[in-house]
Symmetry: C2
Subunit: 251 residues, 2 copies
């Protein structure tokens, strides 16, 4: 139903998760869900997520495709001090700009580190592409950055979250979408027809159906989404009126 | 380090997660991590993940790009009975084949459902692209399918897992990669230099560094990966010998 909700002044985003450890399964990603919920909450529509390896060609290609396609691109991972952290350099290449140790980043890091602790490895984290705006992070002081429409953040969830909250006030946001959920104690197949009928009556309201399996029983969450709360309420009433009489639900 | 481990007879995969609910953040994906670990375990290298909306154009485009690029493509989500489940039809379009209710799928569903319960909505789940091989699922009986190199599975984790296990024996697999982890009680910046040096000595062994923040302290997991266990052991010894004397580690 994606396309029904798409409007010209919609603010969209793509997310690029960078890291071999996610693709090998060793680390379970915790950032996609957080960023997705955060975007929905502030009125940015996340349209696509990609996960790629710590591989320069893969990062550059994905960043360039996503930054053309969406209002914003968020990236997570690969901005640490070790040799496999190549995100900042890859982003600089994607934009065709130089990259070097940024005195503004070093100044922020001095708030945390003694001069002797600003080792070459730590200073590697102060490498920022030319023209980028820094994103402060209260957790570890090492900043993320934003260049063009690309927001580059750490992969460690607590630090990524701090950076995302720090950059949020500077992002343009669109109409918030509101959701109504109906939790149905019946499998999807029981509500497929009434749902499709209600969708036909209210084509502007996105209606999704999400099956679950809980305590040995199948159930379905029906979710209605719209930027217009009055329309949403009418669509919800329409759907509820069409649900079969013999199934129970909450919502 | 991705490219160092890539060989011509490597078996690769892309994963396509399909669903508005993941992109809105309402549902937190649990399939990426499972499929990633499973692939690593059986010697298939997951190279890329994409998450797209329940949108025909987005699904077709992603499937066609991924099936060209990798040995296999796994998809999750969008094969239920409701109007927003458009994965099977989109896959048929991507392959340019017809799609209809498949008597083999209906036969499998009869093992679970009485004839009267094979409603039009349920039969929608038996729509299978022409030429596809069915993937049985003991959990709900409704099958997934494989067409060309694309494995199409449900989004509900328990059902996806059953389908993945069912299809695994028919997949070709490559050399398994083995990993060694060293859990270091020091931030990444303390081990960046010795890690880069060890990497230089053993370029064929992928060496990754994964920072974490636990109980108020920074630590790092160093992970070495190779298909050659003897080489892996030598690289591990090299790295440990180079770690600073004043940091503690296990591994």
């Amino acid at each position: 139903m994606e396309s029904l909700n798409t409007s010209r002044d919609e603010v969209t985003a793509g997310l690029l998760v960078i890291g071999d450890e996610i693709l090998s399964g060793r680390t379970k990603d915790k950032n996609i869900g957080f960023i997705a919920s955060h975007c929905t909450g502030i009125g940015i529509r996340l349209k696509e997520v990609r996960v790629v390896a710590d591989d320069e060609t893969a990062i550059i290609s994905a960043v360039n495709i996503l930054r053309e396609a969406y209002t914003y691109v968020f990236t997570t991972g690969g901005i640490g001090p070790t040799h496999d952290d190549i995100t900042a350099d890859s982003i600089a290449r994607a934009f065709g700009v130089s990259i070097d140790i940024d005195p503004r980043a070093v100044a922020l890091m001095r708030e945390r580190y003694a001069e002797a602790d600003l080792t070459p490895a730590r200073l590697r984290m102060a490498r920022i592409p030319a023209g980028a705006v820094l994103i402060e992070n209260p957790v570890s002081k090492v900043p993320g950055f934003m260049i063009g429409n690309v927001v580059v953040m750490a992969g460690v969830p607590a630090i990524m979250q701090a950076m995302l909250l720090a950059v949020t006030p500077s992002l343009k946001t669109g109409a918030k979408h509101f959701s109504e959920s109906i939790h149905v104690n019946a499998p999807e197949s029981k509500i497929a027809f009434p749902l499709a009928e209600a969708q036909r009556v209210f084509p502007e309201v996105a209606m999704g159906s999400y099956p679950f399996f809980e305590d040995g029983r199948y159930g379905t969450n029906l979710v209605l989404t719209s930027a217009d709360t009055a329309l949403l309420a009418r669509a919800r009433a329409e759907l509820i009126a069409r649900l079969p009489r013999d199934i129970s639900f909450c919502g």
